[in-house]
Symmetry: C2
Subunit: 341 residues, 2 copies
């Protein structure tokens, strides 16, 4: 096996000092154009590839960032956000020679442990703060660890020193409510996500305020957990009692699907007897009939923005929050005027 080509070889071939070769290769200033080009050429000729390990050790950077997904492993399967989000991150990282380390924690304790490990090992130069929670313990931890991080969809109100990439979803939710109100609905309920998540409250508040602003009284709120099954349960809770809502705004598509399926089993037709809206814009929402009216988010673009932010932050630049185009309402077939009373 041929010996690895090192920067020593390159410097020797170019007839310059190692330090000059290093500076030249890394595009640092203080190197004459002539030296730079000679070094470049020597590197090319030798097929030089810098050793990431040595660079890491000496530059004290890992050239890697981390994403820790906290999710019961079984539930990961049905999370469509995941794939698109990772694809977006990768697009940005790859261009900069960075790589993504992906970790999975099944509960909070484990997740925090993973962050600690990443930091202790210096395995990554920064991490994404995804799925923010109310009083998220990771914020204190990452601050304590001094780990650069970029939040995803953090709330502006959230006091944290971490920059954030955001996509507003509240406007889409408001549009959904306005659509329903415009169609004549008066009893509009909400199926929310778990109370611990920031986005649960963002969506819930948007629904609440929009209904209130229309002069109607916000309907019942049922708390689900973003799964299909919890959508079904929400249907049972909301649709079997008196004063049944004529429209339901769900905090994500998967619950909307579950809710619709269950509603139809109960004997309600969507959208004739009941209008339903979702949130996310997953492909599944277009597979079923009726296709679901939803708020279309852009996980990939959001991930791209977040990754860009993180790399800048790691490079030491001071960065501002970034906001991509808001998630827009996509009107499909799960919404219609309420049944004549």
């Amino acid at each position: 096996m041929a010996r690895r080509v090192t920067i020593v070889d390159v410097a020797a071939r170019a007839g310059v000092a190692i330090s000059s070769a290093s500076s030249a290769l890394n595009g640092r200033s203080g190197v004459s154009e002539r030296t730079r080009s000679r070094v470049r050429q020597a590197a090319d000729e030798l097929g030089y590839v810098p050793s990431l390990r040595a660079r890491s050790l000496s530059a004290k950077r890992a050239f890697t960032v981390g994403l820790v997904v906290q999710r019961n492993v079984d539930v990961l399967e049905s999370d469509p956000f995941f794939g698109a989000f990772i694809g977006g991150i990768e697009e940005v990282l790859a261009a900069d020679g960075y790589a993504l380390v992906l970790q999975v924690g099944s509960d909070e304790r484990q997740t925090l442990g993973r962050y600690r490990e990443l930091a202790a090992n210096n395995r990554v130069d920064g991490v994404f703060l995804n799925e923010l929670q109310v009083d998220d313990p990771r914020i204190a931890l990452l601050t304590e660890l001094g780990m650069p991080a970029v939040a995803i969809n953090s709330d502006p109100a959230l006091a944290s020193d971490f920059p954030s990439a955001r996509q507003d979803g509240t406007r889409g939710v408001r549009d959904a409510v306005d659509l329903l109100v415009g169609l004549g609905h008066a009893r509009i309920a909400h199926v929310a996500g778990p109370e611990q998540f920031l986005h649960t409250w963002q969506r819930r508040r948007a629904w609440h305020d929009a209904v209130a602003d229309s002069g109607r009284t916000p309907g019942r709120v049922v708390t689900g957990d973003f799964t299909y099954e919890s959508g079904r349960r929400a249907a049972d809770e909301l649709l079997t009692g008196p004063d049944r809502p004529t429209a339901i705004v769900c905090a994500n598509d998967l619950m909307a699907v579950g809710l619709i399926m269950r509603a139809e089993e109960i004997g309600l037709r969507v959208p004739q007897d009941l209008s339903v809206t979702g949130f996310d814009g997953i492909a599944l929402a277009t597979y079923l009939r009726p296709r679901i009216t939803t708020v279309q988010t852009s996980p990939r673009a959001l991930a791209r923005a977040a990754a860009t932010l993180l790399l800048r932050r790691i490079a030491g630049e001071s960065v501002e929050d970034v906001e991509i185009a808001p998630a827009a309402l996509v009107v499909r077939e799960s919404t219609a005027p309420p049944p004549a009373a």
Copy 2:
């Protein structure tokens, strides 16, 4: 910021040489029990965490493995295999202090490039060879690069030096066919995956042979691409002509879903007019009505087996292929006797 605790500090505190400390910490032989315990204690007291970077540089290992997913980024979203598989890998890696680097390639050229980079940078100690193709170019590449790898569901017939973790799916497909034959179906078609994939042929052959073994003539084969949309297209192709099949075995669940949806639009009821089976066992297959009869795979367990194999392989052990329990047929509501002729 406190200076990092290094092995030098530990050695000093324990009153031994650095090399002894290293040997002691790494459980190597040739260290007296007394020295070992003193070093351990010193390390504990100081809260010593070895530097992954320095270890990497000197030990020439990255303590990281790679998974390159080749998929159009947009399609990644709806791949449920992905999440479960990664969860399984993570479970095993985490226990050994290894981490997973995840990369995404949108086409073959890019994917091969990612493998090359991983190797050139020594970013990983090994990789997973997922979604094997016929004459997969990655095999030659990884061999050339000398990169340890473990294949997922490779074909025994595939000549490759890489060990493989496998879950047999052919038995499940045969069981599906047998089920249909037992119900009285005579015209059983198949919706296959893209011809480039090994598992496409594994499933296709299983379907073909099972039908033939039953004394029936294998029906038509339509090639899809594992997407929902291609399932719909397959329905159009198979169900609109003469000699319509009464049962269709699909190479994955998503196509089965698309096919069923389209079939119902065309006016065929499933399972009364048409029986359909899937493959994978994704959650979605249980959301819809009828719930889909399918072959239930175990991506998480398969990933665990593959990761275990890879770590062993990296450690230099010679490893044999591993086969986990075969994917079993789960009979649900999308299969019934054919309509009376």
